[in-house]
Symmetry: C2
Subunit: 347 residues, 2 copies
């Protein structure tokens, strides 16, 4: 156990003794916070992944949690309420779990209009109902003006994992096809488009959506799905780097196959962002054996949230832990793990 | 479903169109927020109690969540980390569940010293280890300076409810003995003693503790425990009023039997607080049939967290929905449901 009273911040935390926005960015700094601070503090060998699969009552359940601090709270295509429900559903679904129950906790800033709280709660209710999950318990705290920012939400969720389903980042294997379920970078650009101070206009709406039905359709093909991941904070770049490191494999992307809408590409180019690092809230990445790829793609394309499914690359034995992309001009470049925070408070 | 775009705040929300600190106080205003805003918004018949007992895998599990915004984050006897672990364990235990797994989510304010985050995480780890539960998943978000206040935590927890165990506020029955596990008002006074701007000195330490072991000892007597409740925000007064209303029974307290330490009484008198409304974080209230009371008390007193257990009143058929106390002078007074927030950000 670390003695935090006499602690010198290790270099992997970037030698800053304070929390910086990058610690919340879903990139390398977030990972270092978990590895060098939380795990030693908890003193156990748990992984603190997006969701945990644990035994219960003779079966297995998945448990997941996320807090939401997105700014603004309402954006084209959704709100913090939709994100909170769909995000936790998706973390469960990425374990192959069928989500059943949610908890929802509000931290309200004093002075927030109750109608705003109501609209967010209504979005929670509508999203839960649409996804077929039940909100069964909750909590409300209020903080004084100046100690919050409107509404922060936390959702936790419980789902059941069927016997025989084993999905996880360490299972990525050379030869796997790497599939994305649709357009990249949409959520992040939708939020940035309404954030105060930024003047560009776009018609991009957030892709926030619950993906457990899509996962069920993929699993119903009987394919041995190795890895599922929703590329939220840190985007496709962070998710693929995490998987490559966890499984000690390489990932080779084909840049020309990446589904980046022109509106997202334009906005990213204006803002100096890499679309591969922009958050998605209704997309998933899948690693599946290449011989199953066609069947899985067919099942995905038949589902409302998988219409744009396609193979964007493959898992390789070369350059383990590293993601590279073959560019349109025939060159290759490394897709780095994002370090800190490209878009703060995006979810 | 309410249309929050065209919504006039109903009178039970006190006709204020904005969030006020009282909505987080655990009293009548908190209850009204759930009843008049969250439940209609979620559009379902769920109760949003402190924990929910739901069927899973052929058995029953309890699910609970709480966020923690206590100020200051460290206080005599504990920290926000201890509270977050013990509080969710206790909400599960009050359903009669054996807690097994926790999630923990941090909302960090930019600029918070990482050593502070580490100390809180270490407190989480130590409390979980002491209680025999596993932290299995987590999340970290960072908000900009001015949009947070150090560290906010959320914990959610899952536990298993044994077959045959049915405990809930509607089960309180006339004739039940009302038991408290020990001294009242300790946590609230401990936090207030160090809050900036208050100058009184006290040696009171928070009673934060995990109570599932105590509950197990009580259930092991074979007594038909009707109701369990940890009197946190809003104190004993709020908990007993909620139970009286839920079961449509009366509660008659004997004021002379209330275990209020002199230090708590003195501090409350200085601050103009009612000790019955001050938060506890390591105490429970139990309603048990009078014929089982002695056996339950014996079991409680043999447990480290139940040494001060005693009967403080009884459940009666008279004055349903109301809590009254017989004073030392032989009179009676009504113990009201607290309206708003006596001690803001106490947990």
């Amino acid at each position: 156990m670390i003695d935090f009273d006499n602690w010198s911040c290790p270099v992997p935390l970037r030698d800053t003794p304070q929390v910086v926005m990058g610690h919340g960015g879903g990139g390398a700094m977030s990972g270092e916070l978990v590895e060098h601070l939380f795990l030693p503090a908890y003193g156990s060998a748990i992984s603190l992944a997006d969701s945990a699969v644990v035994p219960l009552l003779g079966g297995r359940i998945a448990l997941s949690t996320d807090s939401y601090v997105v700014k603004p709270m309402f954006f084209p295509g959704g709100s913090i309420g939709d994100l909170a429900v769909n995000g936790t559903i998706n973390d469960l679904a990425m374990s192959g779990a069928a989500p059943l129950y949610l908890s929802i906790a509000f931290i309200l800033q004093e002075g927030t209009p109750l109608a705003t709280v109501g609209k967010i709660a209504a979005a929670v209710g509508a999203a839960a109902s649409a996804a077929g999950v039940q909100v069964v318990t909750g909590d409300t705290k209020v903080v004084d003006n100046g100690s919050g920012d409107g509404v922060y939400l936390n959702t936790a969720g419980v789902g059941v994992v069927d016997a025989g389903v084993t999905i996880g980042p360490t299972l990525a294997a050379p030869g796997d096809a790497v599939i994305i379920s649709g357009d990249i970078g949409v959520h992040g650009v939708a939020v940035m488009s309404v954030r105060s101070g930024l003047e560009f206009e776009t018609t991009v709406s957030s892709d926030t959506a619950p993906l457990h039905g899509l996962v069920a359709a993929m699993l119903a093909t009987g394919a041995d799905v190795h890895v599922l991941r929703d590329p939220t904070r840190g985007g496709v770049a962070a998710s693929l780097n995490e998987i490559a490191r966890a499984a000690k494999v390489g990932v080779a992307l084909d840049e020309t196959s990446l589904p980046i809408p022109a509106s997202v590409a334009d906005a990213c180019s204006l803002l100096g962002l890499d679309p591969l690092q922009v958050a998605n809230e209704g997309k998933l990445l899948a690693f599946v054996p290449s011989e199953s790829a066609e069947a899985v793609l067919d099942a995905m394309r038949a589902h409302p949230y998988g219409g744009g499914a396609r193979v964007i690359g493959r898992c390789v034995a070369e350059h383990p832990g590293m993601v590279v992309t073959r560019t349109a001009l025939g060159g290759t470049r490394v897709v780095n793990m994002p370090i800190g925070e490209q878009l703060p408070r995006i979810c």
